[in-house]
Amino acid sequence: MFSLSIILNWLLPLLYLALLVDYGATFFLRTKTQARNPWLIPVIGIHAFFLILRSVQLGQVPLADMYEILSVLALLTTAVYAVVEFASRDRRTGMFVFLLVFLFQYTSSNFLAGTIMAEGVAEVESQSAGCDRLHIILALAAYTAFAISAVYGMLHLLAERNLRKHRFGVLFDRLPSLDLLGRMTWHALLGGFIFITITIITAPLLLGHGGSGATAQSLDAKVIVKIVIGSIAWLVYVVAVLGKLLGKWTSRRISSIAVTGFVVIMILLIVSGILS
């Protein structure tokens, strides 16, 4: 079973790389731009199977550290993108989403490789309980939405820059309209904000009554880091939400916040992961 985990752990980045190449071909060669990608569902299935396998091995959902979370984030981003693609029948933005997904999964697989090998000889220690899982899943849903918001925000900024400079090149031909990119950025950001708000509000309830004992008395450095990152994310995005709803901020400003906010979160998550 551990051998299978190792194989899948290295297979997943390759699969996402293949998808990235496929979407790259769609973007650059403008082929099958309006068709659904038949490989999305099988890749999601394989990734889900890998995570289930890991759960069986670990005796818990694999959300214990930064790198396991990145893998779940890759799967969730792919799943959300699959829904978007299936609904819009437009795969022109897939390359950008899978660039991010590939980086998530590659980073995750790279660091998890050593862990899985170690688990093969050592007994796995169960770390947390059901309420923790719910809390983590809510947080992951928020970060996934922020990731997608950042991708579409970046595309929006690129497209706008091109239109302003009157460049009728690759992006002019291949990207969806500015209007649509702006809407996708905003909706994803709003979704992420709702999830992170729920995550923060329910955290004391879920973690306080959970089996992990992460109460106010037992807050360790890792938990404090997570609280700080969550709070910073919430603050960044609440500004964007209020600006859009009350200040009628432009799509460009929302896109800039979506990109900047996500970059800040990623840096904080990676730094905290390395330090811990």
Binding site: L163, H166, F168, D173, S177, S251, R252
Partner: protein, 471 residues
């Protein structure tokens, strides 16, 4: 029996000659009925567009088809006969196939890549079907041509991108707005190109138009003319000539209803609301506008940063400004405002030139597809010859015979093997005798469409094409 085409197009003749031989639907129908009645051609189809009039036909005899057809057309149109017939082209055999595939693939069009021709070809086919003048060969050829047209459309970039100023403005708008319905257009001035752009935008779904002019009465008249004009000209359900795209832009969609302020729509027809304002009112309305087209005869900027910036600075929705005037009427600084996208006539020209260049680059790919399809069609046509079909049929039965002997031969003693072989051969010969005689008699009858259809059916029945490929 051979397929032929006789025709006249934008390359072979000027418009004054072409219009003498144009065959609108009613005349095309009469011509097809006449052809059917006299039975000189076994199949016929008339393709008539703005740039071409062509008659495709299948005939058994090598008579002077051109003179014959021209006689019919001059009689139908009651025009004097043409002295110089060199303006007509006459192709036969696979040249017809190549010509038709090029037509379907838009390579023979005046504006390469405008795929409306495929719709026109389908209309022509429908007309011939109704007149009962298409049979096996033209049916096959036309369906093949539709497939070629579709293949060129999907496998090349030949039809991508706008190639007129008006449609390039729509293409630009499409880069900013996901849909144009519900958007408001402000037309400043009364330039002809600006009007074409406005109409192209209206066709794409825009249904609110504000017309601004130096004098209000002139603006009102323009707005009214606009509604009357587009109401009068109905493009609905009409396939337009690809080469006259700019002409198309001079015609609006079927728009209904009284004017906005002056009124709206009726039933399911597209509605148009118009409003007339003076130039001094522009700053007051520009905040609610999504697309602004400017084309005045002024030598000074009409829309300046000073009088527009305040109205636009606080807007959070994009504004696309297309300045078609020369000299420019929109101050360039307006393009620096956060949500303003400012383009001038040079930008649109650049977009058109780029798209035309891209289409040109795609022509070799389209030609390759057509070469491939002509080759395939040629192979298919050759396969309908009697001699190779008879040979394949004999081979097929020989294979069946051998297979059965191998399968059941061991049940017979070795002394009986020879008898078994002879029995099998005799049986196959007897079975094949009548079908082969029948096929050879088809050749004697010069193989008309029915004969080809029979051969095709036999080949399919015994899967002879697979056998031929395996050889």
């Amino acid at each position: 029996m051979e397929i032929s085409v006789i025709g006249i197009n934008h390359r072979s003749a000027a418009v004054d000659v072409r219009e003498r031989f144009a065959l609108p639907n009613d005349l095309a129908k009469k011509l097809l009925q006449a052809i059917r009645a006299e039975k000189i051609f076994s199949e016929a189809l008339v393709l008539d567009t703005c740039n071409r009039t062509e008659v495709y036909f299948v005939s058994k005899t090598q008579q002077d088809s051109l003179a014959h057809l021209l006689g019919h057309i001059t009689q139908l149109k009651q025009t004097p006969p043409l002295a110089d017939t060199s303006v007509f082209y006459h192709h036969q055999g696979l040249d017809v196939v190549r010509h038709l595939f090029r037509v379907a693939g838009t390579l023979d069009s005046q504006m390469v890549g405008e795929h409306q021709i495929l719709g026109q070809l389908k209309d022509a086919y429908r007309l011939a079907l109704d007149a009962g003048t298409t049979r096996f060969l033209l049916n096959k050829l036309l369906h093949w041509a539709f497939r070629v047209g579709k293949r060129v459309q999907t496998q090349t970039q030949l039809g991508r991108g706008s190639v007129s100023i008006a449609t390039s403005a729509v293409e630009l708008a499409g880069q900013i707005f996901s849909k144009l319905s519900g958007k408001t257009v402000l037309l400043v001035g009364a330039g002809e190109t600006a009007e074409l752009v406005a109409k192209a935008l209206l066709r794409s779904g825009v249904n609110e138009l504000i017309v601004a002019n130096r004098t209000l009465s002139r603006a009102e008249r323009l707005a009214d003319d606009f509604v009357q004009n587009v109401r009068a000209k109905n493009l609905k359900a009409k396939t337009v000539c690809p080469a006259s795209l700019d002409e198309q832009n001079k015609v609006g969609p079927e728009l209904a209803g009284p004017k906005a302020e002056h009124g709206s729509s009726t039933g399911s027809q597209q509605s148009l609301r118009t409003r007339a304002i003076g130039l001094d009112e522009i700053p007051a309305v520009v905040g609610g506008v999504d697309l602004l087209i400017c084309s005045t005869g002024s030598s000074e900027p009409v829309l300046t940063y000073q009088n527009m910036a305040n109205s636009l600075r606080h807007e959070n929705h994009p504004l696309l400004i297309i300045d078609i005037s020369v000299p420019r009427n929109v101050e360039a600084r307006l393009g620096d405002l956060p949500n303003v996208f400012l383009y001038n006539i040079d930008d649109l020209d650049m977009l058109v030139a780029r798209n035309l260049e891209r289409r040109r680059e795609e022509i070799p790919r389209a030609e390759a597809i057509i070469d491939d399809e002509v080759e395939q069609f040629g192979k298919w046509l050759n396969s309908l010859q009697v001699a190779p079909t008879v040979k394949l049929l004999q081979q097929h039965f020989e294979q069946l015979k051998q297979a059965q002997i191998v399968r059941y031969g061991r049940k017979f003693a070795s002394s009986e093997q020879k008898d078994l072989e002879e029995f099998s051969r005799g049986l196959c010969s007897k079975i094949l005798h009548k079908p082969i005689t029948f096929l050879r008699d088809l050749t004697a009858d010069s193989a008309d469409s029915e004969a080809l259809a029979i051969i095709d059916a036999i080949r399919q029945m015994f899967d002879l094409d697979t056998l031929e490929q395996n050889e």
